[in-house]
Structure formats: C-alpha cells, structure tokens
C-alpha cells in the first residue's frame, strides 16, 4: 500500500516508538520498486539488494529524525540513487558518477503464460527499441513505467525539470509507437485477439479490484 497517509503513519511509528513491525512494513512496501530502480543502475541483484539495505539501515539508525523528511518516498528513491551511484563510482574507481554515466538496461519481466500479452519476439523488439534510447531517457521511462512514479517525483529524485521528463517520456513513447507499427500484420492480429479477451476479463474483475 503506497498511500501517503499510511506511509506517514508508519514513519511516525518508526521514529517515535522504534516500531520494528512498522519498519518491516515500510520495507516491504518499497523494496520491490527500490530494488528494481537500483538494479537498472547496477545490473547486479546482489548489489541492488545491498544498496536498498544500505538505505534502510540508514533510515533505522536515523529514525529519530525521520519527522524532518518531507516525502519519505522521495527520500528513499533519492538515497537509493545516491547509494547506487556510489557503488558505481567504486567499481569504476572514479570519483563521481553522474546521471550521464549510468547504463540502464530495459527488460520486460517474464510473464506467466495466461497473462502474456506480448509474444516473445515482440517483447524482444520492444526491449531492443527501448534499449536504443539514451540512458537518461531509459532511466526516466523505467521510473515512470516500472516504479510508477509521477513526473514531479522523478524530477525531484533525478534533480531535473518536469519539462525534461516530459520530453524523455515522449521520446520513449514515440520510439515504441514506431516499433509497434512496424510489426507484421499477423502478429498484430494475434495481439488484438489477446487484447480483447484480456479487456473482457478486466471489465469483469474491475469490481473486485477497486
């Protein structure tokens, strides 16, 4: 659950009562997204996990000053970014790592057969198309799509303007459109068929989801 009131409550419990249960909940709410974010920068599951744990270790050790943090979500992403950059600097033996040094690799997760919407070939083509984009564009796309962050949040985390984010996303969407338009008609028909069966399924379960 990622609603800000709930997160605020958890943060309060952690900072005032050293509540370990609340800490665990906060961890489990954000682990997946922070991990994927770190992974897109570090390309190593061990180090991505390590980076996220560095961030949470710091949160726990400085829990009494949590109340001074305006948005815990942004703080978590910014810390994960900084920690990941530090790891990169260490590996490359360079003093500083900036956004321009980051090599982001975009991958679509393997899906279970019944939810697979894109065939393996189309997935590969989409991945290839996205991976041709500049690293910054890929990272922004990844953050908006996979981590589900708002433009405003991405802007704060990466310290770039909302306008720039808008342009990065537009570049990525354009690339996707062009790629998808070039896919052969038979494949499109298959996709359409799957799309409609899926849409029908979705409409029937909407009541439960909301």
């Amino acid at each position: 659950m990622d609603n800000s009131q709930h997160i605020e409550l958890l943060s309060k419990k952690i900072s005032q009562n050293s509540d370990q249960q609340a800490f665990k909940e906060l961890y489990l709410v954000y682990f997946d997204r922070l991990y994927k974010f770190a992974f897109s920068i570090l390309h190593s599951s061990e180090f991505a996990e390590e980076a996220v744990n560095d961030v949470f270790l710091n949160i726990w050790q400085k829990r009494s000053s949590l109340k001074n943090i305006e948005s815990l979500k942004n703080y978590l992403f910014i810390s994960t970014k900084n920690t990941s950059f530090n790891y990169l600097s260490k590996f490359r033996k360079e003093r500083n790592t900036t956004l321009d040094d980051v090599l982001v690799r975009f991958e679509i997760d393997e899906l279970t057969p019944e939810t697979a919407f894109f065939t393996a070939e189309i997935r590969k083509e989409i991945e290839q198309a996205i991976n041709q984009l500049p690293p910054k564009t890929k990272l922004v796309f990844q953050m908006a799509k996979v981590e589900g962050l708002k433009y405003k949040e991405i802007a704060q985390i990466l310290d770039i303007s909302v306008n720039t984010i808008d342009n990065h996303i537009a570049t990525a969407i354009k690339k996707l459109c062009v790629t998808l338009k070039n896919i052969s008609p038979e494949e499109i028909n298959l996709i359409l068929f799957q799309l409609f069966t899926k849409l029908r399924k979705k409409t029937s379960t909407i009541g439960q989801n909301n």
Binding site: F31, Y35, N53, D54, F56, W60, Q61, G148, N167, A172
Partner: protein
C-alpha cells in the same frame, strides 16, 4: 511543443487536461493502427511488473535485520572502549591533581623535576579507529586501529624509548646523539632519524618492521647483541614462535596505505587479510575450511567501505568459490 507522444505519456502518468484528452481521442480515431498501437502501449505501461516477489523481499529484510544488530553490537563495543579510555584519562588526571594538592606547591616543584624521567602517557586506539601523536621531540607517530603506545612525557638525555603494541608509522626527528627506540614484545627497533612502519599486534604470529627512508637497527629483546641493519625498502619479519627473523625487499607503499584509510594488499594470504579485516571492522572471522586460509588475494578497499561490500567482493573474485554467514559480529567463511 505539445506532441501526441507527450500527451500519451501524461495520459499514462495520470495527469492529463480535458483538452489533451480530447486531442488524444482524435488521434486514436484517425486510424486502426493508431488505436492498436495506443492500446499496446497502454498494456505495456500498466504491466507494471509488480507481481512483488515477496520471498525475495523477506529474505533481504532478514539480511537487513542482521546488519542492524551487527551495527548496534559494533557500536556499543566501540563506545565501551572509548568510555573506558576516558575513565582512564580521568583517573590519571584526578590522581595527578590529588597528588599536587596534597603535597603542596613546593613539593610539587620537587616532584616535577624528578618525574620527568618516569612520567608516562598511554594512548590506546580502539578497533576501527586511527590516531596521530606528536612527541615532545617533534617526532610524529600515526597509530593504526587496536594499537597502544606508551611514551614518556619528556625524553631523557640518553635515549628516546617508546613502547608499541599494534601498528604504527613513525616519522622520527633526527638526533644523532639520542637514539629513538621502539620496543615491541619481542624486538626493538633503534633509529637516529627516519621514516618507518612497525606492526606488532599481540595475537599476530609475526612482528614486521619496514623502513621507508633512513636507517634502522633491529635487535631481539632476548639477544640484544645481535643487530640487523635495515636499508630503505627492506622489511624485517620476526617469527615470534621460533624466534627467527628474515629480511625481504618490499614495496613500502603497501605498509603506509592504512594511514590514508586505504586497505591495499598484493598476493596476501586470506588468513592475514582476515586478521586485518577483524581489526578494521571490529569483527571475528573464522574459517570452516582451513585450506581457505592459504588462498592469496590482491586488491584494494577503502576502509570506509561497508564490510559486506568487502565480503561480497571476496565472494566474487575468488577462484575457489566461497560463501559466508554472519551472526552479529561473527563471520564464518566456508567453501561454496
């Protein structure tokens, strides 16, 4: 410039104005291709890949909890050491003050003159710390972690003698008439004025003296008549078990990295490295497989690297795959 691409982007993000929504609908209705492409992108976007792998998160959380406990134990130990150091200082000064007050002004003068020969200072550096000392003759000493230095407040006219347990780097002021002597458990190092490093930890098998510049004489405490003279770039290794010493040419740089907070080693045995890691990070390392102790490594770390980073790098860089488990500040290394 408003493009359809950025409108689609904002639609997906969920922050779109009614006019943009209108423009999007118009674009979608231009052709079937547009419609298809739009739905595909939407599908791709909302496929958030968020089937959270809960077991991974929980396993990672357990590791985090281990680290938190680990950090808390390490912290409390350092604190205890620092507190006891402060108490020692306090007791010492309280004793001196008491002494002064009870004997009065005149006798204070008398005692002060006498005590120049036997008043000693002790500096203890806990694990995970470093310290720098300047002696009354202007000599500079850098003390590495878990080390102790005993020195007189004022040197006498015959010799400048200090005692060392642990590791230190020395830059000694030149004085041909008054030799500077570093006394360790088993050997003593006599110098006139020079730069050198001494490593003499109580639970190490070896004592090592490495000369950077100048000239030093090394003598065994049991047989002081046998002197070994070291030239710059030479390192003397004294084996405490069989009382043997050997002199080797070394790259002296490796002996001074610790002062810069770096941890550099070349073809060093894992057992020796583990000892150094123990001192830097205040941990205990045990080997499940004795043979692993003899594996050699080359590398460098920053001392402020997290210990887990270092363990992970060891885990990855070895020809013999290793793994480790941690329990508070105890680390066990095993063959994978």
């Amino acid at each position: 410039m408003e493009t359809i691409w950025s409108i689609i982007g904002r639609k997906l993000e969920g922050d779109i104005s009614p006019e943009e929504e209108q423009a999007l609908n118009e674009w979608i209705n231009i052709s079937t291709t547009n419609k298809q492409v739009y739905f595909q992108i939407k599908e791709l976007w909302y496929h958030k890949q968020d089937q959270t792998n809960n077991s991974q998160a929980i396993a990672a959380y357990d590791k985090l909890i281990n680290r938190i406990k680990f950090a808390e134990v390490a912290q409390s130990q350092t604190r205890v050491q620092q507190i006891s150091f402060r108490i020692n200082q306090f007791v010492k000064y309280a004793a001196i003050l008491f002494f002064i007050l009870s004997f009065g002004y005149l006798s204070y003068y008398f005692i002060d003159a006498e005590s120049t020969n036997n008043e000693f200072c002790t500096i203890s550096v806990p694990k995970g710390n470093k310290s720098e000392v300047i002696l009354s003759d202007g000599s500079k000493i850098w003390l590495n972690n878990n080390s102790k230095l005993v020195y007189p407040k004022k040197f006498n006219a015959k010799e400048r003698r200090i005692e060392l347990i642990g590791e230190a780097y020395f830059e000694i002021e030149k004085n041909e008439k008054v030799p500077f002597i570093v006394q360790t458990s088993d050997i003593s190092i006599k110098v006139m004025g020079t730069k050198f490093n001494v490593s003499a930890y109580a639970n190490d098998k070896f004592i090592e003296a490495t000369l950077i510049s100048g000239k030093v004489m090394v003598q065994s405490n049991d047989n002081p008549e046998i002197e070994t003279v070291l030239k710059p770039g030479e390192s003397l290794t004294f084996d405490k078990v069989n009382n043997q010493s050997a002199v080797n040419d070394v790259d002296t740089e490796f002996y001074t990295y610790w002062m810069k907070g770096e941890f550099v080693f070349k073809d060093e045995r894992f057992e020796i490295l583990a000892k150094r890691i123990e001192r830097i990070y205040n941990v205990e390392i045990t080997f499940e497989d004795e043979a692993l102790k003899d594996k050699t490594y080359t590398g460098d770390f920053k001392v402020d690297d997290n210990i887990y980073t270092i363990l992970e790098i060891f885990k990855r860089s070895t020809k013999v795959p290793i793994d480790y488990t941690t329990d508070r500040n105890k680390i066990t290394i095993r063959r994978k």
